[in-house]
């Protein structure tokens, strides 16, 4: 499905060279829920941005099936990989109604004829559990969870094959987080999507991803099936990350109010 071959990327920050990605190669299969984990600055967002075409890589290639992807890719390739961002507050244009936001990809990629756009927007909103009345509202009247649902509807509008989710639930409260995660899993099954899920929340990864890539300082630290990586981590860094998942020890359980 997606094949990343020997990708490297450097940034120059205040005359210091930062190696954001160092010779990364991986393969993401169709219908995977592929998680990329690592601490801040490990290069996971840079990798996603290269796959999305926001940045150009210094070396290496990205392939989507038989097509080579670059930052100035054609519209036909662009629509196949879409993105849901971390911050629901900035993901929607405050001056545009939800209808205008969701209809934009429909118009750019000519998904439906002009007279059917309204029906299509309504349908997309229903996929993410929002009523048709949301169409005429502005983002400032929506909660964080609702904004993230609209962002998911917008990403689905161009009928993509791959959805890159950059910490889509980290800015939401716990209850809304689980609702949005459930929604994402339902949508994945319904449209047979491939997910690339960027997160540093390992408990989320454990529950929804079937394969996981652990990144550290721009390099691949560990890569494999989620259960294998979690049950038998090979590298010290992955072990440290897994240990960092908050758990309740027996001692703590005892002092908990009954």
């Amino acid at each position: 499905m997606i094949e990343v071959k020997n990708i490297s990327k450097k940034f120059i920050i205040k005359s210091n060279i930062v190696q954001a990605l160092d010779n990364i190669s991986l393969k993401i299969e169709e219908s995977d829920c592929f998680a990329i984990v690592g601490e801040s600055g490990s290069g996971k967002t840079t990798l996603a941005n290269i796959i999305l075409g926001i940045y150009n890589q210094d070396n290496g290639e990205v392939w989507l099936e038989d097509s080579l992807l670059s930052s100035n890719r054609s519209l036909n390739l662009r629509k196949l990989i879409q993105f849901v961002q971390q911050n629901p507050m900035s993901t929607l244009n405050p001056k545009k109604t939800i209808y205008n936001t969701i209809s934009l990809p429909l118009k750019i990629h000519k998904i439906v004829s002009n007279d059917k756009i309204s029906d299509r927007v309504e349908k997309l909103l229903s996929y993410v559990g929002l009523d048709a009345e949301f169409m005429h509202r502005y983002p400032d009247t929506l909660s964080g969870g609702q904004k993230q649902r609209v962002a998911i509807a917008r990403a689905l509008a161009s009928e993509p094959k791959v959805l890159i989710l950059d910490e889509p639930t980290s800015a939401l409260d716990v209850i809304v987080q689980s609702k949005v995660l459930n929604l994402l899993l339902n949508i994945k099954n319904k449209f047979n999507l491939t997910y690339i899920f960027i997160t540093h929340d390992l408990s989320v990864v454990k529950n929804i991803a079937n394969r996981v890539l652990v990144m550290n300082k721009g390099k691949i630290d560990e890569f494999g099936k989620t259960m294998e990586v979690f049950s038998r981590p090979k590298s010290d860094y992955t072990k440290t990350l897994i240990r960092a998942i908050p758990t309740v020890t027996d001692e703590e359980d005892e002092i908990k109010p009954k």
Binding site: Q82, F83, Q85, K96, L104, I108, R154
Partner: protein
């Protein structure tokens, strides 16, 4: 949504000075539009002389008095508003689209485009607007209203470039811009449909504030004899002609000067109100 019940209008109306400014602007605009119907002597606007009534002080017939060839100053002030408003609107109609387009391109496209456009803007910003307008008029054939408008426009667009450039730079990395880029939206779409609507509150406020200043600069140029030429009634020209007769025939220049003051004050008060209403800094 009823605008008069919105939080925006509430913020605007909280300041009585803004409402006062709005009333002034509305009255001036209405006076200018209906000038031929509400002025007592509309024929005094053209080439007209009435030496029997020359230099008459304010009276019930001529409330602002008459000038040295017997024309009613009140009528000419009201018609003068037409020229001032046309000047302000035409200047901004030229300067705003140029400034906004350059600001959007420099801010969004960046790199060499930004470097070239912003350095050109800096050159224009380094020279005060009135001095620049004077030099541009100096280069043109002979002074008239059209040349004044072109000259003031050329001095005014850089301020809009600077304003829009700063806003564009601050929002170009927002999530919705990145989302539009990933979707494949064109640069033109992103600049004019995604970024520009977010600049509108600041833009509208600056346009309102600038209308007053443009009228003031236009009147200053007319005062120097570089604006509308006689017999066109221009407030700046009227002040200039009357200034040499002070203090004897004080009404020659006092009332046109007062008329300029009123319109500039009106636009400034409305502009300040809009600034509070949109909570923007221009």
């Amino acid at each position: 949504m009823n605008f008069f019940k919105s939080k925006y209008f509430y913020k605007f109306s909280r300041n009585p000075l803004s409402i006062f400014g709005l009333i002034i602007v509305c009255v001036v605009v209405l006076l200018a539009i209906f000038a031929p119907y509400i002025t007592p002597f509309p024929e005094h606007v053209g080439p007209f002389t009435d030496f029997a009534n020359k230099s008459k002080p304010p009276s019930s017939t001529y409330i602002f008095g008459t000038d040295k060839i017997g024309r009613d100053i009140f009528t000419r002030c009201i018609f003068g508003y037409r020229i001032s408003l046309i000047l302000g609107i035409v200047v901004l109609a030229i300067a705003v689209p140029i400034g906004v387009t350059m600001g959007l391109c420099a801010g969004y496209i960046g790199r060499k485009t930004e470097l070239v456009l912003m350095r050109i803007t800096d050159v224009f910003l380094a020279i005060p607007a009135l001095v620049l307008a004077l030099s541009i008029i100096g280069l043109l054939d002979r002074p008239n209203l059209l040349y004044t408008m072109i000259a003031v426009s050329m001095a005014w667009w850089p301020w809009y470039t600077r304003l829009i450039y700063n806003i564009t730079r601050s929002i170009k990395t927002e999530g919705y811009i990145v989302a539009a880029e990933i979707m494949g939206a064109s640069k033109i779409h992103i600049m004019f449909r995604e970024i520009l609507p977010n600049c509108l509150p600041s833009l509208l406020t600056k346009i309102t504030l600038d209308l007053g200043f443009v009228i003031l600069v236009g009147s200053s140029l007319s005062f120097l004899g570089l604006g509308a030429q006689p017999p066109t009634p221009d407030l700046g020209t009227m002040v200039a002609k009357g200034a040499s007769m002070l203090p004897d025939t004080w009404w020659f220049s006092l009332f046109p000067g007062f008329a300029i003051l009123i319109v500039v004050l009106g636009f400034n008060l409305v502009g300040d109100g809009l600034k509070d209403m949109f909570d923007v800094d221009v």
